[in-house]
């Protein structure tokens, strides 16, 4: 069970208590991209511009569930010298100034290599609220479960359009915080919004039938406020990653690049 003090739990609870709640916006950025110094500022600025939660990507040399955009940001961040220690440091800095829920997202190998127990301890001390490991499905989650539970770090699992009803129910039981709904089959990255919206409708209906214990956030392929409104209509929130990284890539390192990124974030949440 997720602790009621957990910040992810809290924001969904607050959302439920509102009369006409907005969709929650969860933004992904790669730690150490575009440089080591910007990650904390980006998170704080994104929060000011409407982000309700952030996913901080822990770069891995072989991001096989990611498209070209996040491959690029991961590679750059590794070249910049990102390490797990530095990522925990960034989380601590964010925590000094903000109560935004922080989810760490990455591949399981660096976590195992660092040591699951040590990882969870440091994450907990740094104020991390959850963990997403796309290559650690429920079958293999035993590898980190004990450590995770010892330090109260929830694991957020994913469901995809080809996940069976039965499996969605199982994942709902195992997932804590929310369930991450991957709206299309494929790697992370930009797709045409209308195409996504059409194919995603039936999937979301199935998600709502089978996932009843957790809030749901939908991601993969959202590029604009309009995409988000369409796709997240029947769930609690949406996740944007690649489109945000692309925006950073477009403007960095020109003067005022962060402001451009924050404008994009603001538009994502509130529209023009």
């Amino acid at each position: 069970m997720i602790a009621t003090t957990n910040r992810i739990y809290q924001i969904f609870k607050q959302q439920r208590e509102k009369k006409n709640p907005e969709k929650l916006m969860n933004l992904f950025i790669t730690a150490g991209y575009p440089d080591l110094d910007s990650t904390v500022d980006l998170v704080l600025g994104m929060e000011e511009n409407g982000a309700d939660m952030v996913e901080i990507g822990m770069p891995f040399s072989d991001p096989l569930a990611d498209g070209p955009t996040i491959q690029f940001s991961s590679e750059t961040a590794i070249d910049n010298g990102i390490t797990l220690e530095k990522i925990f440091g960034m989380c601590r800095q964010i925590r000094e100034k903000s109560g935004i829920p922080i989810v760490l997202m990455g591949y399981v190998n660096p976590v195992l290599h660092y040591g699951a127990e040590k990882f969870m301890k440091k994450a907990s001390e740094a104020g991390v609220d959850g963990l997403i490991l796309p290559d650690l499905p429920i079958e293999e989650s035993y590898l980190i479960e004990e450590a995770r539970k010892a330090y109260n770090i929830p694991q957020i699992y994913l469901v995809a359009p080809n996940t069976s009803d039965e499996r969605m129910k199982t994942i709902d039981k195992k997932s804590e915080g929310f369930v991450y709904c991957v709206s299309v089959t494929g790697v992370t990255g930009a797709r045409e919004g209308d195409e996504v919206a059409r194919s995603v409708n039936r999937f979301i209906d199935r998600v709502n039938e089978n996932i009843t214990e957790n809030p749901k956030m939908v991601g993969f392929g959202i590029k604009s406020h309009r995409d988000a409104k369409l796709i997240a209509e029947k769930v609690e929130g949406f996740i944007v990653g690649s489109a945000l990284i692309d925006t950073i890539r477009e403007h960095y390192p020109r003067d005022g690049w962060k402001e451009k990124v924050f404008e994009f974030v603001h538009e994502l949440k509130y529209g023009n």
Binding site: S61, L64, A65, D66, H113, T185, V187
Partner: protein, 421 residues
């Protein structure tokens, strides 16, 4: 009296059962239902691929018991691949060392020039059985790519091969072969531009086109059931050796020797002998410039347990758990991981693994070319050169089988540059 008889027979039955139990324990059974070989293996894949590997597992377990499927496979191995391959006695090599008798299992004589086609053929039959229309594969040296393109041509199926840009450069001939066979060869520019990155890209393709696409993995890596399925298809090598040696020598081999990258040719040879404790099994990794130089592919010697490409095994990785670039003169061994079953055989000590450097492998090329008139693939040459060490341990009345996994034609540019001049 009667009680005593009952007691006696009871204890006899118990003895018998105990013996049975011992025999059962000795039987080699791996992987588990969850796809584990000891602590290695499993299925570390994104949720999107779970239905695909579950569907494959179910279909494969059915096919394995299906006589018609097996007969089709065997008849294609016979007519199309040219099996059984010869078990060639190597008289001059044997004489050169003056120790155990050396036999070469001639996988180089398979259609397309290496053992890879045993597996590609088995998997394309699975793809057909499952109604998949499109085939994808990764390739390093290009041998698996060629084998896959070949069976795709044979069955008229659409074929896309992912290959690292650097590998395309050094194995140009194989790129041309694949294209001639009708395959689309896509250059992978990400990361190290070798087999590891080609595999990432193939997995991304699979994730995106999972409904109609079958991924033919070339070695005993990847998520369960791949390592098991590839092993089963390659184990025709060891089964033939067992039978051929029985006919020739009336006994089991004392030593089995094979090169190991992912490890499919080695496991194909080892697997049918795993229950015979008296058979010593030796796998040879590529040390590259030397195991301690940082330019190596000796995963078991220098790696630690980790997760890559859907499986938990040994891995060359940095302090941060980032996968390191492997190096070997042989593109087919240039991989920072190894099949989970080898990781387990290594940790249990059932098989032993040693390293051979780039330079030593080139010596191996010369040795077997000059003494037996057979030019080996650079991969195979690693196993050949280890004879220099291993033969010292052997006796004249013993028998060694070396898996001659592939022929050297594809490597002639590299070989020419290095030794012929």
């Amino acid at each position: 009296m009667l009680a005593r008889i009952v007691r006696n027979s009871k204890s006899k039955i118990q003895n018998f059962l105990t013996k049975l139990e011992v025999n059962t324990i000795m039987k080699y059974e791996a992987p588990t239902k969850q796809g584990y070989y000891g602590e290695f293996g499993g299925k570390f894949v994104p949720e999107i691929l779970i239905p695909a590997i579950e569907e494959l597992e179910e279909a494969y377990l059915e096919a394995r018991e299906d006589r018609e499927f097996q007969e089709t496979y065997e008849s294609l191995l016979r007519e199309y691949v040219g099996r059984p391959t010869q078990l060639t006695f190597a008289p001059r090599l044997t004489e050169y060392f003056g120790k155990a008798k050396i036999y070469l299992k001639r996988e180089d004589l398979c259609h397309t020039g290496a053992h890879k086609i045993n597996n590609a053929l088995g998997q394309i039959l699975m793809a057909r059985r499952m109604g998949k229309k499109r085939i994808i594969a990764e390739t390093g040296a290009g041998q698996h790519g060629v084998a896959t393109a070949t069976v795709c041509a044979r069955f008229g199926m659409e074929c896309t091969i992912y290959m690292g840009a650097e590998d395309m450069e050094r194995q140009k001939l194989n790129v041309d072969r694949m294209r001639l066979l009708g395959a689309e060869v896509l250059s992978v520019e990400s990361g190290s531009q070798t087999l590891k990155d080609a595999t990432n890209e193939a997995i991304r393709d699979w994730v995106t086109h999972v409904d109609n696409t079958f991924y033919i993995i070339g070695s005993i890596i990847g998520p369960h059931p791949y390592p098991m399925m590839v092993r089963d298809f390659q184990s025709v090598i060891g089964r033939e050796v067992k039978q051929q040696l029985q006919e020739r020598e009336g006994k089991l081999p004392d030593y089995l020797l094979a090169c190991v990258g992912g490890g499919s040719n080695a496991i194909g040879l080892f697997y049918p002998f795993l229950e015979h404790d008296e058979v010593r099994m030796i796998g040879i990794e590529a040390s590259g410039l030397g195991a301690d130089t940082g330019k190596t592919a000796a995963t078991l010697a220098k790696g630690t347990p980790g997760v890559l490409h859907g499986t938990r095994s040994y891995l060359l990785q940095s302090d941060e758990g980032q996968v390191e670039l492997a190096h070997s003169i042989s593109a087919g061994l240039d991989y920072p991981g190894i099949g989970p079953e080898h990781a387990n055989l290594f940790s249990t000590g059932r098989a032993e693994y040693h390293g051979i450097t780039d330079d030593e492998a080139l010596e191996g090329v010369k040795l077997v070319s000059e003494l037996e008139g057979i030019i080996p693939a650079l991969e195979t040459a690693h196993a050949v050169q280890y004879l220099e060490t291993l033969m010292l341990d052997t006796d004249e009345d013993e028998i060694l089988v070396l898996n001659f996994s592939g022929r050297g034609d594809k490597d002639m540019t590299t070989i020419s540059n290095q030794i012929v001049r």
